[in-house]
């Protein structure tokens, strides 16, 4: 069976600066992929490029192929025009943003907002059926249909985020991209929304791309994870492998810098410095200036390559069987070709 989504060499540029620099992704039907990384690493830009929703001034290139179940021909998102994309967005791929308050129309009740989305793609549906569908959708996301008559400001943050998810599901897409869907929520509400996404995946066979800076959220929800740094994927693999045995120094340091309940107490070791300026990227490995293991070879490459079964890292020294004390580059590794 061929993959639901295939992305090859996705690039996004603005005024000659590369914000996304050659991203490859594959997503199977019903799979959940987590896109991790700190702000500015290009994860949201990648998501917007997948839907061709980049703001003006940003140009994208690269192949994006979508094979929705039931479709005869694969959809070549990369080549679609704006008019062509309108048939794809919401129908096949939809997007849940971070700030639900900013993406819902504040002067419209919930019900008409959802029914409009349905209408756009299924104009022939009878009003009564649309209403029924909206009620079903609200129930699916754990809201009482009565909430449909409320305005967004009359809902709590968690309820608004559920409405956003209902909206994303309105046309039965096969892929939902959720960009920091729980960042504005408290932990209890966050746990509820994550549980909901998990249930929807099981019940509806949805594929999910979950974007988050919170590695804990991704660990709980995803099958696979891709870690982005400075516009590139620096590590990808099954969640279990990446968290248990990271193979890129950035992933390793990121995991080490997170406090974990039940783990060591005290201040975690911070990663020194800051991510590079996209206008002035370092030569070779983009993590080199902050990496404790940087060496001369790091001035060139490295490409993302498989270093363990199913797990790929963009580091010359991977696979790492152990992590030496920062600063001590293993000498024998330096000698390798």
């Amino acid at each position: 069976m061929s993959a639901l989504l295939e992305v090859a060499d996705l690039r996004v540029e603005v005024r000659g600066q590369r914000i996304v620099d050659g991203v490859d992704l594959t997503l199977e039907r019903g799979e959940a992929l987590g896109l991790a990384g700190e702000s500015g690493c290009g994860k949201t830009t990648t998501a917007l490029a997948l839907m061709k929703l980049l703001p003006g001034g940003l140009t994208q290139s690269g192949a994006i192929t979508l094979r929705p179940p039931g479709a005869e021909e694969p959809i070549n998102v990369g080549r679609r025009t704006e008019a062509g994309m309108q048939l794809v967005r919401w129908r096949h791929i939809s997007l849940v943003f971070q700030g639900a308050m900013n993406s819902l129309d504040p002067v419209k009740r919930v019900e008409p907002q959802i029914s409009e989305a349905i209408h756009l793609h299924e104009a022939k549906l009878r009003p009564r059926d649309v209403r029924e569908r909206v009620a079903d959708l609200l129930k699916t996301v754990g809201l009482t249909p009565a909430l449909g008559s409320r305005y967004p400001h009359q809902l709590s943050g968690g309820q608004r985020q559920r409405v956003m998810i209902a909206l994303a599901l309105a046309c039965n897409p096969s892929l939902v991209i959720a960009d920091e869907p729980t960042t504005a929520l408290d932990v209890v509400m966050q746990a509820q929304v994550l549980k909901l996404l998990e249930r929807l995946r099981e019940d509806l066979g949805l594929a999910l791309i979950l974007i988050s800076h919170d590695l804990g959220v991704l660990a709980e929800t995803c099958d696979r994870i891709a870690v982005m740094y400075a516009g590139r994927i620096v590590e990808t693999g099954p969640v279990r492998s990446v968290f248990d045995d990271p193979q890129h120094p950035y992933t390793k340091r990121l995991l080490d810098s997170l406090p974990v309940i039940g783990g060591a107490r005290g201040v975690a070791v911070p990663i020194p410095g800051a991510p590079p300026d996209p206008g002035n990227p370092p030569e070779g490995c983009s993590f080199r200036p902050r990496c404790p293991y940087e060496a001369e070879r790091c001035l060139a490459g490295p490409e993302l390559r498989e270093v363990r079964p199913g797990q790929a890292a963009a580091c010359h020294f991977a696979p790492w069987s152990e992590w030496p004390e920062p600063g001590a580059v293993p000498a024998e590794r330096e000698a390798l070709p």
Partner: protein, 325 residues
Amino acid sequence: MSEALLEVENLAVEFRSGRNRARALDGVSLDWRPGEILGVVGESGCGKSTLARAMLGLLPLARGEVALGGRAVEGKDDIAGLRRRVQMIFQDPYQTLNPRQRVGAIVAEPLRVQGAGAGEAGESVRRALGEVGLEPERYLDRYPHQLSGGQRQRVAIAAALVLEPDGLICDEPVSMLDASVRAQILSVLVELQRRRGLALMFITHDLSLAWSLCDRLAVMYLGRVVERGSAVDVIERPQHPYTRALVDAVPVPAAGGGGEREPLAGELPDATAIPSGCRFHPRCPRRFEPCDSVDPPLLAAGGEGQLAACLLHDPVAGAEHTVDG
């Protein structure tokens, strides 16, 4: 036991809008010891930020009192003294730093207000910037928009330090920052605590942060402290069902995550409609007979000094119920 740096007793703050009365803070007692890292945790709307503001005399109190170093804070002079000794930093330094002032002027502002001379101020400003890891020469003349989020938070900390306070209240100090920058800011704060004995109070919804840094914790729910004790006891062996649910809801950055627990249902009720009895009872998975009518006080539970406002710990009412259930 040494005297508390700051102590509050039965603190209450109410907001009125029309006929509604929101009990934002509803009888909170807490002590913050010198040099200690105290965490106040809870979901948004639980009253944790209101508590911080009330402690500094920034909000009118409906009830209760605040004591600084064992002396009750009464009247304007006392409040001015309190605000010198206890400073506060906020989540979003971009909103608290004056965008038209340069870093040097921002950090010097508290000294200017206190009437310090220019020469003396210059020296203090440089020292404070050094303590937060910003080279004075490079940053004195910059504007806030020329700084990264992490640098702005460092400037906010420097401005809080120039008066050499004994305590610093940090209201979600790193929740807007990325993981790698977060650890940098936290290490600046903890370094200050170690080196100068600065007491820190973290107001946060982030239990992992509370776990890693705090000596003691107070867990708040709907305007009340529902559990307190050492951070390790409270998080590893929570004695209030709400704390348990809060700890369980934290996503774990490890393979497989936190497992298959069912998250707490429902939402935090409105502070204008606090439930009868135990305020947590409508959402509580462990509620039993008198929970909807008896408002439990903080009762001894679990570890040394650990207290939980839950009838499970009442020797009579909770006798037939086990805490771990």
